[in-house]
Symmetry: C2
Subunit: 212 residues, 2 copies
């Protein structure tokens, strides 16, 4: 992983992308410059997840992007994914590291400096500040942290920090200026009419795009 | 694994056991002679699953019983479980074997001789004939196979065969006489008022209990 890959990070959603589908939406996003992709689908079976993970890992490899599986260490292993993203309800980072090895990229969600420090100590490679602005996509994460949390979470560890939650082209600049190394989005890209246009808009500003 | 452990196989359900809870119900069942326990909970988070798996693995070890995790190879690895049970929508048996190693017990659901043969070739340790009689517990498995399927599935491979689906003390004998090496139950034990009594009733008959 290089932290420029985190500059724009897409989390998939099988519903928001509509009839265009996850694979096609991801392909458009990768072509336009998304540097990291996370497969997230809480309703798919394990076999469906493995199938989709193999497809997306191949797409990411072709585009020099990072491929991450949400929560499921077993799916990441089966698909040979670059890594996993772990929330506070998922496998602890230290156990995932044991199973996935030193080269795997492990991201951890954090909502407080204490959680960020723990993730760092347990061997995470990046932190996701979760969630910044209100959003309809994830309803189980409590109140939005607000922009101030980015600075606090960034200070807590030397890890690169990705901000997620309600980020779109109109507020991406503020998030980057607050210290985020990258921005992660779900609906802004998955539900976009013109995926490439939104990707380009999200990559503009003080953050460097991962590819030009 | 020894196939006598499969003689009576309990699959957990967090709702059916009511306020008694999964842990207490399993403890009563293990004390009464259940030889294998499968943790199944499609709604729990990964962290909750790992937590419960560690508890149940310890209980099983104390009682000489086999502990199996439904679907989730990652949870089985994290908890040091004896093995996993894999349905047709879960990870393929051959991949799970690669990750869990030669000593792990891997069970596979089969609804046809073809599926049983494939599971055997991929390295499964036992087959679950799924499902025999109508039941409310699992609604995604299609029509009941009926008692005749046990004989057909048993013939298809040399693996021990566990029958599941709508089995209770009133029909357990018929299932064993049809050739099942073991019977697996969810509601008959999880929802039982007197767990020990039901376990003893299910162990009577031509099948040998795993312990006396």
């Amino acid at each position: 992983m290089n932290s420029e890959q985190l500059s724009l990070y897409l989390v998939t959603d099988p519903v928001l992308c509509g009839s265009r589908g996850v694979e096609e939406t991801c392909l458009l996003a990768l072509k336009a410059g998304v540097g990291a992709l996370q497969l997230r689908d809480k309703n798919a079976s394990t076999r469906e997840l493995i199938h989709m993970a193999v497809i997306l890992q191949n797409l990411c490899r072709m585009h020099g992007a990072l491929f991450i599986v949400n929560d499921r260490v077993d799916v990441a292993m089966a698909a040979g994914a670059d890594g996993v993203h772990l929330g506070q309800d998922d496998m602890p980072v230290s156990l995932a590291r044991k199973f996935l090895g030193a080269d795997a990229v492990i991201g951890a969600s954090a909502r407080s400096p204490q959680e960020a420090i723990l993730a760092y100590k347990e061997g995470a490679d990046y932190i996701a500040a979760n969630l910044i602005f209100p959003t309809d996509t994830k309803t189980d994460l409590g109140e939005p942290l607000g922009i101030g949390a980015i600075t606090d979470l960034k200070k807590a560890s030397p890890l690169p920090l990705v901000a997620i939650g309600g980020i779109n082209p109109s507020n991406a600049d503020i998030v980057r200026k607050a210290g985020a190394d990258g921005i992660a989005v779900v609906s802004a890209i998955m539900a976009a009419e013109d995926v490439a246009e939104v990707v380009r808009a999200l990559l503009k500003g003080p953050g460097k795009p991962c590819r030009t």
